[in-house]
């Protein structure tokens, strides 16, 4: 078991190294290179050359690559010329906001998914059909559309909740204000997640119900509730851990769109702004960070799964 854990850890480290390399070549392959975008319309060949020299971009590839690693190792993610701040400093607070939003949305989505999935799997014919229709609609709804509509209804028309941002005073104004600011983005983000997760979980529950052991339990006179909670649920939740790990990319994608709609100062919003402003150092750093978080998330899910369940069923 220790070996299995080490094996997974090694795999993840390899993925991380590959990721860093991949991102490096993504920037390296940028047509014109970063100097052009930094200088923008003022770019002259001489200016570009000077900046390239200044940033070490005239060195051979391998040297740039090593420098890239060196900088990363020292936590140096570059300097944002549009925001006039080191990228590492910039990212910190945005990351914090994003993690907050993601955590709230993910928690809501998971809880909803378990309830819906259990109901769907246990009552595949009647209720399951209705929930199934809701799910397919739920994850077909584009996040940015839902967000816009929510703003329109709850912020513009009803004026119940703020239309976006986190409000400069959000933190100082206390938890209530924070929740009010979080409500709409969190709902927007959680909706497609809950739809996808509950569908997966519902199938899982339904498959468990088809297993022999459920009928065997019935043949021993166990009640439906007992079978559902003591036997079926236990088996159906296990794969959910993996799925929650795999949920991270959807969370990020949804997050970028949600944060843009609501002007929520998170990583996704920053990614969007820096893409529009062609702020490559920031853009690169965020892509890298998201990749790292995803890999770590999957690793965490793997580890939890390994700890929970070392056996291989039905082999």
């Amino acid at each position: 078991m220790t070996k299995a854990l080490l094996w997974r850890l090694g795999n993840s480290l390899l993925s991380l190294a590959l990721l860093v390399t991949l991102v490096f070549f993504m920037i390296y392959a940028t047509p014109g290179g970063p100097a052009y975008s930094i200088l923008g319309v003022h770019a002259t060949p001489a200016g570009v050359a000077a900046l390239n020299r200044q940033m070490g971009l005239d060195h051979p590839v391998w040297r740039q690559y090593l420098t890239w690693w060196d900088h990363l190792a020292h936590g140096n993610l570059g300097y944002s010329f549009t925001q006039h701040a080191p990228v590492a400093d910039l990212i910190g607070s945005y990351l914090h906001n994003t993690l907050l939003l993601d955590a709230v949305a993910a928690a809501a989505a998971i809880m909803l998914a378990i309830v819906l999935g259990l109901a769907q799997g246990a009552r595949a014919r009647s209720l399951g059909r209705i929930i199934g229709a809701g799910q397919i609609i739920g994850y077909s709804l584009p996040t940015f559309f839902v967000g816009t509509v929510l703003i329109l209804v709850f912020a513009a028309d009803l004026a119940w909740l703020p239309p976006g941002g986190l409000g400069d005073t959000a933190r100082s104004a206390g938890l209530a204000s924070l929740w009010r600011h979080l409500a709409l983005p969190a709902v927007t983000l959680a909706l497609p997640l809950a739809a996808g997760l509950s569908r997966y979980f519902g199938h899982q529950v339904r498959d468990e119900y088809r297993q022999d052991y459920v009928r065997a339990a019935r043949s021993r006179g166990l009640s439906a509730l007992r079978i559902a909670f003591r036997h079926v649920l236990r088996n159906a939740v296990r794969p959910l851990v993996t799925v929650i790990g795999m949920m991270i990319p959807s969370l990020v994608v949804g997050g970028v769109l949600t944060e843009s709609v609501f002007n929520y100062p998170g990583l996704g919003w920053l990614l969007w702004r820096s893409a529009l402003e062609q702020d490559y150092p920031t853009l690169t750093a965020i892509v890298l960070l998201i990749g790292v978080l995803t890999i770590l998330g999957n690793l965490a899910a793997d580890l939890v799964n390994t700890l929970l369940d070392v056996r291989v069923r039905y082999d």
């Binding site: 590959l18 940015f144 513009a156 769109l257 893409a275 853009l283 892509v287 890999i295």
Partner: protein
């Protein structure tokens, strides 16, 4: 078809109390799902391409006297802030959105198939290397990659289709590879090898054909992702550039104005995107259910 499956009485072990029985009439609901999805998609395609023939209005024409006009007879879906006809823009935007998404899906499907087949049928070390690379690529969510590249390349229909397609293939690649690996170990493939079949024959006849239906069904989900991705990019201002219309772009330009009452600017493009994605998801899900039903023994 149904007759054959119910008539077959396979059961490896005779008897056995609760052998899973195939429920024959249950496919009815699923058939409706893929039919409904297909019809919906067809309707959107007709709207986008045949619509302009029936409603020939210039999507770029500016009607200065009708700025932000609410839907009524002259402009059935109203006008935007520059006084452009929303219905005409919606049709033109549909062409752009659907065409680019289709091309992108085709590119993604092809690239994914090639990559997956190479990994699944090649030697073990190649498989391991390619899969490691794929895992890493998958660690960066597709929209993030799209945003990254969209900020670099000049944006037009061709570059968007390429960009989306090249970001989209890993999912298909992984599916293809897994299916190929599974198929390789099937007894009928071993049998073919015993008859002297070469790698290419097995790849073509037994593996590709066996998994193609599943891969194609999954390409419908890919198409849904592409519509969402393209619309998302356009919504973020990184897709089709104004003044050209796309559904996501319409939503983007309308979002600010909707707050002050011009609801039609977001309602119709938003609905269009939703319906297009829904159509593909329904189609895919229905087809998948059929396929599973067909393969379940």
């Amino acid at each position: 078809m149904t007759d054959d499956t119910t008539r077959a009485q396979p059961t490896m072990h005779p008897g056995g109390l609760f052998q899973r029985r195939r429920r024959w009439p249950a496919t009815f609901g699923r058939v409706r799902a893929d039919m409904g999805g297909g019809m919906l998609f067809l309707a959107l395609v007709l709207f986008s391409w045949i619509g302009p023939l029936l409603y020939p209005h210039d999507p770029l024409a500016i009607h200065t006297h009708h700025i932000l006009a609410a839907p009524r007879s002259r402009f059935p879906l109203g006008t935007d802030a520059l006084g452009r006809n929303v219905l005409a823009r919606l049709m033109r935007g549909g062409q752009a959105t659907l065409a680019i998404s289709l091309w992108a899906s085709a590119i993604g499907l092809l690239a994914g198939l090639l990559y997956g087949m190479t990994a699944g049928l090649g030697p073990g070390w190649l498989d391991r290397a390619l899969m490691r690379l794929l895992d890493t690529l998958l660690a960066i969510p597709s929209l993030v990659l799209m945003i990254f590249f969209a900020s670099i390349v000049p944006l037009n229909e061709t570059s968007l289709a390429l960009l989306l397609g090249l970001v989209a293939w890993p999912g298909i690649a992984r599916l293809t590879r897994n299916e190929a690996l599974a198929a390789r170990e099937r007894d009928y493939v071993r049998a073919a090898r015993q008859f002297g079949a070469g790698r290419l024959y097995i790849a073509r006849v037994h593996i590709l054909r066996a998994m193609l239906p599943l891969v194609i069904v999954n390409a419908t989900f890919l198409m849904a992702d592409m519509i969402l991705g393209l619309s998302g990019l356009s919504f973020l201002g990184l897709g089709i550039q104004p003044p050209h219309a796309s559904w996501g772009g319409l939503l983007n330009s309308g979002a600010g104005l909707a707050v002050i009452g011009s609801w039609w600017l977001i309602a119709f493009p938003g609905l269009a995107i939703f319906l297009a994605i829904l159509a593909m998801n329904m189609l895919g899900q229905g087809l998948l259910a059929r396929l599973e039903g067909e393969l379940r023994e």
